[in-house]
């Protein structure tokens, strides 16, 4: 046996590289005393260009399977539905009136943390599935989430998400094969290459940005978010495991020795992506919505902070669970 056990080795690949990058972001935040790294510039770049490119780059290169989308999207919806009453109960217990408190409990950070882990652990196949989960999560956040904090429907906001159009375009390109002349095909391949290159920066910049933001966190405010954060990072994945168990019992997620290995791998990767996303802390976007609508931003910020810090321990733990109870179970 080497320095690291085999079990640990299966968990570390997903976490260690992301941690390394996040640490670089934290260090940059610490040395950047003059705050030259403008957060808005970075966010705009990631939001309008790099993430859509990553979404398109991942989706257009593989076949789109509606059953897969329905399974992952359905699981994401069910998890959000299941977490909603729990979040409202926690809000009542904390004697807080604003609905903004619920957002970081109900929704998951399916972008900054989940996507790189999915890529590192499950390859491009895992990344594509994680993107599907991410799209459903932000669809509900920008509609139901905005409604919770503002009392208005946020569908207009949702329609302004560039990644949505990248998803539709990616699926269209993957699904529709037009008989194009060779010259047009070459032009398309050149454009695809450009998009692929832009996509390279999305994941590292997302993590560096997260690390940079964390370096500015006010640690004295952490107490306010402990309950909500732990509900998110502990109860979320437990609910996901229960959901998978139900799926297996109902035959929606078949398991058994007679299953073709490639099909089995497909189902197990889908399950792993569901649990992984459910184990994520609250999303930064939820905090930004709370700030925008002045709806409980301080508690949301501390919940995100505690959840992200707790994720350093809980995410590897649930990856271990994924390895033992899903991939080899």
């Amino acid at each position: 046996m080497g320095v690291i056990s085999k079990e640990l080795l299966l968990v570390i690949p997903g976490v260690l590289p992301s941690l390394t990058i996040a640490l670089m972001g934290v260090m940059l935040g610490k040395i950047d005393i003059n705050r030259e790294v403008n957060h808005k510039t970075i966010s705009n770049m990631v939001y309008y260009f790099l993430t859509p490119c990553m979404v398109f780059s991942t989706l257009h290169q593989r076949d789109f399977d509606f059953k897969e989308f329905a399974t992952i999207g359905g699981a994401a919806l069910l998890l959000i539905v299941a977490m909603t009453p729990i979040a409202f109960s926690a809000k009542r217990l904390a004697k807080i009136k604003e609905n903004g408190y619920c957002l970081p409990i109900i929704f998951m950070n399916t972008g900054n943390i989940s996507l790189p882990i999915a890529l590192l652990l499950f390859g491009t196949e895992g990344l594509a599935k994680a993107i599907m989960f991410h799209m459903v999560n932000i669809l509900v956040l920008y509609s139901f989430g905005v409604y919770l904090v503002s009392g208005k429907s946020g569908i207009g906001q949702f329609l302004r998400i560039p990644a949505l159009y990248a998803t539709v375009l990616g699926i269209l390109v993957a699904k529709v094969s037009l008989p194009l002349p060779p010259l047009v095909q070459d032009v398309c391949s050149i454009a695809e290459r450009g998009i692929d290159v832009l996509a390279l920066a999305a994941i590292p910049l997302l993590i560096v940005d997260l690390g940079y933001s964390m370096s500015q966190a006010d640690l004295s405010q952490l107490r306010n978010g402990v309950t909500g954060a732990y509900l998110r990072v502990l109860l979320g994945p437990v609910l996901a495991l229960a959901l998978i168990y139900c799926g297996r019992v109902l035959g929606l997620l078949p398991i058994g020795p007679g299953l073709d290995p490639a099909t089995a791998l497909w189902y197990r990767t889908t399950e792993a992506i569901i649990v992984l996303n459910a184990a994520m802390p609250g999303p930064i976007m939820a905090y930004l919505l709370n700030v925008k609508f002045e709806n409980c931003p301080k508690q949301a910020a501390s919940m995100l902070m505690v959840g992200t810090l707790a994720g350093i321990v809980t995410v590897p733990f649930f990856l271990y669970v994924i390895k033992h109870f899903i991939l080899t179970g």
Binding site: G2, L9, V197, A201
Partner: protein, 650 residues
């Protein structure tokens, strides 16, 4: 004495000259001995047979051939052999293991000369080698190691799965340990049997989490290799195959084959020995280790792998030399597409940078600079260098060449300054090239990680020269002290030092190191678009009306500089400093290409920032030079790439 003999000597020389053609004609007039050869082929005639026939045609024999082609059918091949009257022929030629083994079973009275692309250790031919008294020939003995060099230029290799379709205890025919030490690759055994289903094998490969899968010689014919390779290609795992015929592996990324010309020539030498009267047992079997390779661009495309230019040129360079109408015609379509893709991609990302800059009102370029300088660029430098073998000689050559180019360019700029054609304030803009923000991404897009490694050397050398120049000229903002504050410099030194260390112990420690590197690698890859975005960010702020002010500097930067670099490269080659062989010296070719490409880069923002602080980017002359070179580089870099493909990589 000498005066007496001189006329006699002259007469003798004249006679000798006159009689030489006569004797040659007499020789030609001699009757060649007639011989007949039966060619037993499994699937048509290939380059091996062409070379075989060509060598025999130059011999003292007049050979008559009778061809028996099975067209890929085993049954037809056996029928051909059964119906063959071997006594009619002086020699039987067989192509491939199947034909040779069948021929040896049926033919006893005539010698057999074979050519086999890859001789498997468990084939009956190899097992009965000592008792095969009736056969001799040539076989391919290409080591899969040959492929790791080119493959590592295409994909990052850490763990390679080896399809093990060998009898128990037998190892693949290459030195795993040696390859592991040389390339730092870990090999994972993937045992395969006939009863294994393809999905089961694919799952085994997925569980092993390997970067690529190697099919050693012989495994292609024996396993369900094509289906496995198709499955691997779908999962974006490249296959590297040692085979005789790349057409039989349409899903493999890289095929290694023995040099067919050499194989045919060696077999023909043995055949000639037999025709001259030697017995097969007296003529030793010949092995051919010279490899040629074939990269499948369609598979690379499907896997999302961009084929580096030097690898495309390498495949092209192995094709028989053809006469082209002009030098540009020698550039293949694959190479053109790689160049076009890289250039278009660069333009696209830079344009996105321009858009971001406009949105931001050009207020936050410092954010991009800080991100690149402190995190992304050092990660790219480390990622490119720590697995790249540092060659001091090559580094010195590049250093000398960069110094020569920059110095000559500087002198020309100073002369123009003397002639009042180029104001002094625009000297730096004319001489400095953007070796970081544009060259590094472009080197990656064109030449892969190897290109980035060489471009990093170029970048650091160029930066050193600017700072040294500034230090000498008394410019307070360009000094060697500033140079030693660049984080990438220390990261480069660290990476080179780590690369020189012996590989860490196998197992956990190595795995842990790779995982840490993975984060650095991801971030380093992120630098490719971010550097280009950073280059594009301020361009929108520059005014087109200033372009005419940058004409002199732009001309120097875009035309004179690459021409100088090309001249230096050709001079180095002419002086014999750089050897001409293609496959073993692909690395040197990449260095030369980077040197010429680096010299063709547009004006650097960085040097300008250091040289003219406070005025950037509003000095009209400098703005004009930057804008002119940035726009002009789209065309001139394209032209320079064509020159690189035609002259440097050939």
């Amino acid at each position: 004495m000498s005066a007496t003999y001189l006329p006699m000597l002259r007469i003798m020389l004249l006679l000798a000259v006159c009689l030489t053609p006569l004797s040659a004609e007499a020789k030609q007039g001699q009757e060649k001995a007639a011989r007949s050869v039966a060619m037993i082929l499994f699937k048509g005639e290939s380059g091996v047979e062409k070379s075989f026939r060509g060598t025999l045609a130059r011999s003292e024999f007049d050979i008559h051939y009778a061809t028996f082609d099975a067209d890929g059918s085993v049954a037809r091949m056996k029928k051909n052999l059964e119906q063959l009257d071997a006594s009619k022929y002086d020699l039987i030629y067989t192509s491939g293991t199947l034909a040779t083994e069948a021929a040896l079973q049926l033919i006893r009275e005539r010698p057999v000369v074979f050519t086999i692309d890859a001789l498997r250790s468990d084939s009956s031919l190899q097992k009965n080698r000592s008792s095969s008294r009736n056969a001799t020939g040539a076989f391919g003995a290409v080591s899969p190691e040959t492929g790791f060099g080119p493959l590592s230029r295409i994909v990052r290799l850490r763990k390679v799965g080896v399809i093990n379709y060998y009898p128990a205890g037998a190892r693949p025919e290459f030195d795993l340990k040696k390859a592991q030490e040389r390339f730092g690759i870990r090999f994972i055994d993937l045992p395969v049997s006939e009863s294994d289903s393809v999905p089961a094998i694919l799952k085994r490969v997925a569980d092993a989490r390997v970067d690529s899968v190697l099919f050693p010689s012989g495994t292609v014919a024996a396993t369900n290799a094509e289906a496995i390779m198709a499955g691997l290609a779908k999962r974006r795992t490249p296959s590297i195959v040692v085979t005789g015929d790349s057409a039989s592996c349409p899903h493999a990324l890289l095929c290694l084959m023995p040099d067919s010309g050499e194989l045919g020539r060696r077999a023909a030498q043995n055949a000639l020995a037999l025709l001259r009267g030697d017995r097969p047992g007296q003529v030793p079997w010949q092995s051919v280790g010279t490899a040629v390779m074939d990269v499948n661009p369609r598979v690379a495309d499907r896997m999302g792998i961009s084929l580096p230019l030097q690898v495309a040129a390498l495949c092209q360079g192995q094709e028989p030399a053809e006469k082209h109408a002009h030098f540009l015609a020698s550039v293949s379509k694959a190479e053109l597409l790689i160049m076009l893709r890289a250039l278009a991609c660069m333009v696209l990302v830079v344009t996105v940078g321009v858009v971001i800059g406009r949105w931001d009102d050009w207020l936050h370029q410092q954010a991009l600079i800080k991100l690149n300088d402190c995190i992304f660029l050092p990660c790219l430098v480390f990622f490119a260098l720590h697995r790249h073998t540092f060659d001091l000689g090559e580094f010195v050559q590049m250093g000398g060449a960069v110094t020569a180019v920059v110095t000559i360019l500087g002198l020309i700029a100073l002369s123009l300054n003397g002639l009042k054609s180029l104001p002094r304030e625009r000297l730096i803009a004319a001489v400095s090239m953007t070796s970081g923000t544009v060259l590094l991404p472009l080197a990656y897009l064109l030449f892969g990680v190897e290109g980035v490694a060489k471009a990093v050397y170029f970048h650091l050398l160029a930066l050193f020269l600017y700072h040294a120049f500034g230090s000498c000229s008394g410019n307070t903002h360009l000094s060697l002290r500033q140079f030693f504050k660049i984080p990438s410099l220390y990261v480069a030194a660290l990476a080179v030092a780590l690369g020189a260390l012996p590989q860490p112990a196998p197992g956990g420690v190595q795995e842990f190191a790779w995982l840490s590197e993975k984060g650095v690698e991801m971030t380093g890859m992120g630098a490719i678009p971010l550097l280009l975005l950073s280059f594009g960010y301020p361009l929108g702020a520059l005014r087109f009306s200033t372009i005419r002010l940058g004409l002199a500097g732009g001309w120097l930067r875009l035309i004179v500089s690459p021409a100088l670099a090309l001249a230096v490269v050709l001079l180095l080659r002419g002086s014999g400093w750089i050897p001409g062989d293609l496959l073993p010296n692909a690395g040197l070719r990449t260095s030369e290409a980077i040197l010429v490409l680096g010299a063709a880069m547009p004006t650097s923002h960085y040097a300008l920032r250091l040289g003219i602080p406070g005025r950037y980017p509003h000095g009209d002359g400098e703005s004009g030079t930057i804008l002119l070179t940035a726009v002009g580089a789209v065309f001139t870099v394209g032209a320079v790439l064509m020159l690189i493909a035609a002259f440097v990589l050939r």
